[in-house]
Point group: C2
Chain length 541, copies 2
């Protein structure tokens, strides 16, 4: 069928040569071009085809289960067409004659009967795809739309320009799927409010790096920007400003839909019983009054776990949250509970005695968390929690996801071994606190961390569902979020998507430098890895 045969020009280049110290060798040129994260299997031909913006088409294959009504794909076709041909102004048409040296279309074929086009991505969503660039046309096959989104990103990364600026693409065979199901980025909108535009830009960059979870740490001590329909006074009193620094229900819906169109889940975190100072401003009696000797000091501690009203409040709030956020999981926090205020309060002391908790305030914390978990379970949601909840021995549902964030490398590896040995699923953030910055190419240490590097059986390793890059907000707001996040988070993105043996830092440097310039060309304010230039420098200032 093809006008001339592809005679075994396809080569497979092997990964695995890793370099565990020092900065990358910037002179290495990857044989994988600008692919990021690296797909599981790639075969390139040295034969390249021309590709013309004015006539190139992305369209549904006739056999595809996702038809013209699938907005998700239509939006993706437009997005990737614009990424690939940003300056294209002439109207698309074909002259009817197929030039054998030109790629004229990409056919997108959703192969399973349910494309999931109108659904939400979940932790078990199938993101696999197969991409074949043949002469005159290319085919992207995926069981679900989620895989098609990943494959479109990959396809767009295959384009390269010759010295005349003409777009080219090599004959290519790619078979790809993620190594881990849970590949997240955490944003903190409490320590600094992040304008919607920044959150959306970050979601765009996440899609370019095949991330699939936006962990929205939406509220915390400093501010409560979530506008609750049930308890509007929470943001009215607890946000930095009740109008300009809140996320309205419409904002939240828009962010969720924008994420869905990119195959990204939105998992909200409502962290309790600690990290709730801002909650207390709008909800009377929610927080524990701290005492100074025999009298209340006027300050407040964690959520008050001894009042029935606390649980009535949580019940209503989490009912709302479960309706607003479609994801089957909610992150419940549970980290860093300070016991000093509880210790100072005579009513708490009495309650501790009544329940025979002794002096062990982690038992009181567990008492609270247990009741909260029951409330959330009643909303049909699963939950994620920070590792302390597990460490404190709270009874957890078998499908609980335990988020590891503490300690040294040795400590977090021990923690993951312990969690998986007890049969729980877990995901890792300790090595990926991107808010912690240092001079130089710190992306290499992010890149070298691996959630499977702990002592355990294969069955234990299977319980590791992935990881999250966290950008806590003490020193991060809309002025510096994007360059601080990208391309550093990209290193985490490849670790979580690509095969375990993709660890060559020199090869990674070569691809990532090109990938970051591509992000810049797409309008993402991604900073540079080292002295170098992009064809189009960032001019968004």
């Amino acid at each position: 069928m093809l006008p001339f045969a592809i005679v075994s020009l396809l080569v497979t280049v092997s990964q695995g040569c890793s370099r565990h110290s020092g900065a990358p060798d910037t002179a290495v040129e990857s044989s994988y071009g600008s692919l990021w994260p690296l797909p599981q299997k790639v075969r390139f031909s040295s034969l390249s085809l021309k590709i013309r913006g004015s006539s190139f088409q992305i369209r549904d294959a006739d056999e595809s289960s996702a038809g013209p009504s699938c907005s998700l794909l239509k939006n993706a076709y437009r997005r990737y067409y614009e990424y690939m041909f940003p300056n294209e102004r002439t109207k698309g048409h074909t002259n009817g004659f197929a030039d054998p040296a030109e790629l004229s279309q990409l056919l997108v074929w959703i192969t399973s009967s349910d494309s999931e086009c109108d659904g939400y991505p979940v932790v078990t969503s199938d993101e696999s795809y197969e991409l074949s660039v043949n002469q005159t046309y290319a085919v992207l096959k995926a069981p679900k739309v989620w895989g098609a989104l990943r494959g479109l990103e990959t396809f767009s990364q295959l384009l390269h320009e010759d010295e005349y600026g003409a777009k080219n693409i090599n004959l290519t065979e790619i078979s790809d799927f993620p190594r881990f199901q849970h590949r997240g980025v955490l944003l903190d909108t409490s320590r600094h409010f992040l304008p919607i535009k920044v959150i959306l830009a970050n979601l765009e960059a996440m899609a370019m790096n095949k991330f699939n979870v936006f962990h929205w740490h939406i509220v915390d001590d400093p501010s409560f920007p979530y506008l609750s329909r049930t308890f509007p006074q929470l943001s009215q009193m607890g946000a930095y400003h009740p109008y300009t620094h809140v996320y309205t229900p419409a904002d939240v819906r828009m962010i969720i839909e924008f994420a869905r169109l990119r195959g990204i889940r939105v998992v909200p975190e409502f962290d309790t019983p600690g990290h709730t100072q801002s909650w207390g401003k709008g909800q009377k009696d929610l927080l524990t009054p701290c005492y100074s000797g025999p009298t209340p000091s006027g300050t407040f501690g964690p959520v008050n776990p001894i009042l029935n009203t606390t649980y009535d409040f949580m019940n209503l709030l989490f009912k709302e949250i479960s309706a607003v956020f479609p994801d089957p999981y909610v992150h419940l926090g549970g980290d860093e509970v300070d016991f000093e205020c509880w210790k100072s309060n005579p009513d708490i002391t009495k309650f501790m005695e009544q329940h025979s908790f002794g002096e062990d305030y982690s038992k009181l914390e567990s008492f609270y968390i247990q009741k909260l978990l029951d409330i959330v379970t009643s909303t049909q949601k699963g939950y994620m929690i920070w590792q302390e909840v597990y460490d404190n021995g709270v009874k957890l549902k078998p499908d609980t996801l335990i988020h590891v964030w503490k300690g040294t490398q040795q400590q977090y590896q021990n923690e993951m071994a312990k969690i998986t040995l007890s049969g729980y699923k877990t995901f890792l953030s300790t090595p990926w606190y991107l808010n912690r910055i240092s001079y130089g190419q710190d992306w290499t240490s992010l890149y070298r961390a691996d959630p499977h590097n702990f002592t355990g059986t294969d069955d234990q390793k299977k319980l590791v569902i992935g990881g999250e890059a966290c950008m806590w907000g003490e020193y991060v707001d809309s002025t510096n979020l994007m360059p601080r996040m990208w391309p550093r988070a990209s290193a985490v993105g490849e670790r979580l998507w690509s095969a375990k043996d993709v660890t060559d830092v020199n090869d990674a440097y070569s691809r990532l430098a090109k990938h970051r310039c591509r992000m810049v060309e797409r309008g993402i304010q991604a900073q540079s890895l080292f002295s170098s230039f992009c064809r189009h420098e960032y001019k968004g200032i």
Copy 2:
């Protein structure tokens, strides 16, 4: 004359209580509002006046030596009017009746007969001013336009809003002048090319922080973006790209004029004999050929100091530079010369023998530098050099400025003591390498450094002309320059402008947090100091 008397409401608040460890106390409220850098003398009244954008005027005092033809001031009036009243749309007019509770105008009075309106700022320029906000009008008196520019910035910082959003200003008396004459920011446009827009935005931010020197480290090893009219092949071959990544003569003129209008000098650095790899691409025989045993290795070292053609080239190049850049000083670099290549080259070895330099290659370096200094002297320019040139014992003109950048605190303090003891002028950058980043509030350590903190006499201290915040470009380009620079450079700005005893980090935090939000409102992508919010968050993304 005033409708009612100001009865001793004026208070002087003293600075000096410093806190030398830990993070600042974010709960402290400065009695100096948002003033940054803090003026030398401030007296506030608690009495405040209203100020209306629709009728407020900034205009020349009748007695001023700078009249309607002074574009520099006219541009500054517009700029500060727009900063103060960004949303003002109604046309200015007064109803003829002076409201005693309203400030209606700011009179700007240049008191010396030569306003210097059409000149360039130089190291000895007078930047002092006196600002008096009285009822119904305010007066800004300055000997030269440079002081008026500083005073306009200060005046704009006095405005504050009441709870209804109305602008107010307190009765105020300010007498101000800089502690140091040389207050610089270094940008590196070689390791990454910085688009003109970024350089201009940085100049705007510099003016907001009363910096007065843009040290333009324009070329270096990685690229040569300066388009030389005499040697166009230098950028043609040595820039990252010969059209998109160069500064044309028109660009350079525009940057110099934009800086001049803000009272900022542009001091170019053409660093030799090291840091010149990119020069060699467009200028044959300029660099030393390195040898591998008896044959040239194909690589090149520093500028070749033994050829007459080298000095012919430098003579022509620095003639051009002296004409293009109006500042009386040029920075000649002279740092980090690697001797290995010189050692490998047999012609250099022979030359060393002929000149009885023995094995001491710093003598060869000095030989080169000496000839270069003579060339630059012949162009009527003074020079700045990095400290190595002084350390190596090169004979220097008495007006040479020695730029200290190396070592620990102890080492740079010893260096400054030594330099000033030998009668040379110096300025400091060691503690202010802003490209070096770390987690948390590192502005406090920038703030605590002081160029006068070394053991020496008063006469020695007088030889310290200031300092520079340096942003080297290995990891910095247009995506992250501005948030990485600001407000961290602001800490250096206050150290170099304000009195030596202005060292209270808590008071500084309070003012700087407000100052950075003001920069954000003026369109500067200045990052935050800590968990907090600005009324108008940065939305430039």
